[in-house]
Point group: C2
Chain length 347, copies 2
Amino acid sequence: MSQRPQSTQIRLAARPQGEPKDSDFETTTQEVPELAEGEVLLRTVYLSLDPYMRGRMSAAKSYADPVEIGDVMVGGTVCEVVGSRSERRAVGDVVLAYTGWQTHAVVPARQTQRIDPDLAPISTALGVLGMPGFTAYAGLLEIGRPQPGETLVVAAAAGPVGSAVGQIARLKGLRTVGIAGGPEKVRALSETYGFDVALDHRDPAFREQLEAATPDGVDVYFENVGGPVAAAVWRRLNTYARVPVCGLVADYNATAAPEGPDRLPAFMGSILSRSLTVRGFIQSEFVESHTADFRRDMGAWVRDGDVRYVEDVVDGLDAAVAAFRGMLRGANFGKLLVRVGEDPVRG
Amino acid sequence: MSQRPQSTQIRLAARPQGEPKDSDFETTTQEVPELAEGEVLLRTVYLSLDPYMRGRMSAAKSYADPVEIGDVMVGGTVCEVVGSRSERRAVGDVVLAYTGWQTHAVVPARQTQRIDPDLAPISTALGVLGMPGFTAYAGLLEIGRPQPGETLVVAAAAGPVGSAVGQIARLKGLRTVGIAGGPEKVRALSETYGFDVALDHRDPAFREQLEAATPDGVDVYFENVGGPVAAAVWRRLNTYARVPVCGLVADYNATAAPEGPDRLPAFMGSILSRSLTVRGFIQSEFVESHTADFRRDMGAWVRDGDVRYVEDVVDGLDAAVAAFRGMLRGANFGKLLVRVGEDPVRG
């Protein structure tokens, strides 16, 4: 049993109206509780920041309960076990957990998953080999149903989900069109992630470029942004196109329905006239059915360099709020992680 | 070879702006052409009028080519063979064809399908045992994926598609809620079609009634109307609900996007947060995969009285335009048919 350290936490102080502000969060420090039988004390090494967290800050009904005012913000973490009263985990183990925005936490050992640091960098358990990679894999294969020769479009394509979607689709024989914002990200789409076409949605000629990039239309649109980019892609969808809906980050900060015209009737009309499939999903739905395949396939692709990834690491828990806000604006480049504590010393 | 009769036709004279007007159609008469080898001369007995025809009158891109100005309006028909130069069909045969709004037509015999008048009334080949029944069957089973104990909602529930959807769902063990307009149709939902709950969307308390009728939410919403009814049902959809989109008759006459607010972002948000499946379809997509099952199942259900149907027959081709316009307003009651000619004399 280790000594009882102080834990620093970031808690939700108010439900954000629109873009989250500094005052929507507060930082607290407290001694961690004593371990009960079966529990472990974790020291956070990496905290994952992801767009879905914006939804948890709102009170609206969703697939998961909102974070309550005063609660520690939730989030996936890679942690080192620094205390254990469980036979499942030993001090020094590196684990995947869901301990949120804090430096230390006490949780039941069965709520952690051991990570083998010899297989891949431990941070990838929060990215390409973790939830974002799994979201891309399961959503694309199960809902997108990609067929060789088809055309896939994905936006936020330099992000952890979009970049994996594009690379998996390319491996499945599709023509891939990636969309991102700004020259640096667009360059990465071609040079790092191997998209067949890379487009900048900030370019005034974006719509025309998208049309030129999809001469045979679009068969799979992996939807993770919403907004004007989605509206442009929508026009290019072929009959029987599939649209896995995994995120709508462009709309997350919206506080009210935007002014008209009301595009919903035309949207439903296109679903009907083009026999489209539009399917929202959360990766957890597919954990049971697809985890084994994901580990096998994605593990091999990453190991062999067929799927590449980029991480954007900011240092220190006190940088989390600013980094999260930047992500909602698209300021990060690659999987956004907070290095909350030092990497474990490899034994 | 029979003598060459005159055929009377209704042709599209102009693309309707909003609700079709009389002046959007013209009636012509001409002698039918001589039969070539392999062709048959058909005398129309029943013409089917269906909401999809409104879409064919527009120039917009859709799943099928629009009817050109000057062309005979398309439509499914039950016909008597009155002349034949094909070994496939004999004079006196009753066939299903797609000869449209006219009294006589010459078509290749292979474009007709023989109907056995001993199995069921020949008009049912255009209704419960034809395209509308098949639309209900394939869309509900393949996209709706109904599970026993779930709740299904369908609007236009006294219509040929909606009434079949409700009855098949009930046979599959679902709680069924039917929506129609006006007391006569609502009464038929309970008394004729056996819906568990029948609601009138014209009732000022409709939204509250819908809420009370779906205490466990809605798992399958078979979408064939759009408009405000759809908006009310949408709020009741459960996580993982399925929405086969088969028609949007409330919107068919719309000429421009309605005024805001723009409901599309909230709609996409609900698809995401509730993991909904929204899938447009046209029954033709499922003909190859589902026709044999449909004939077996629906034939038995109709024969045994498990699935009931109502026909609304108007007399004479010159009644077609007014009847079609009425259907878009919901004025018909049951499958709308035009009796274009006398029933064949049974031999």
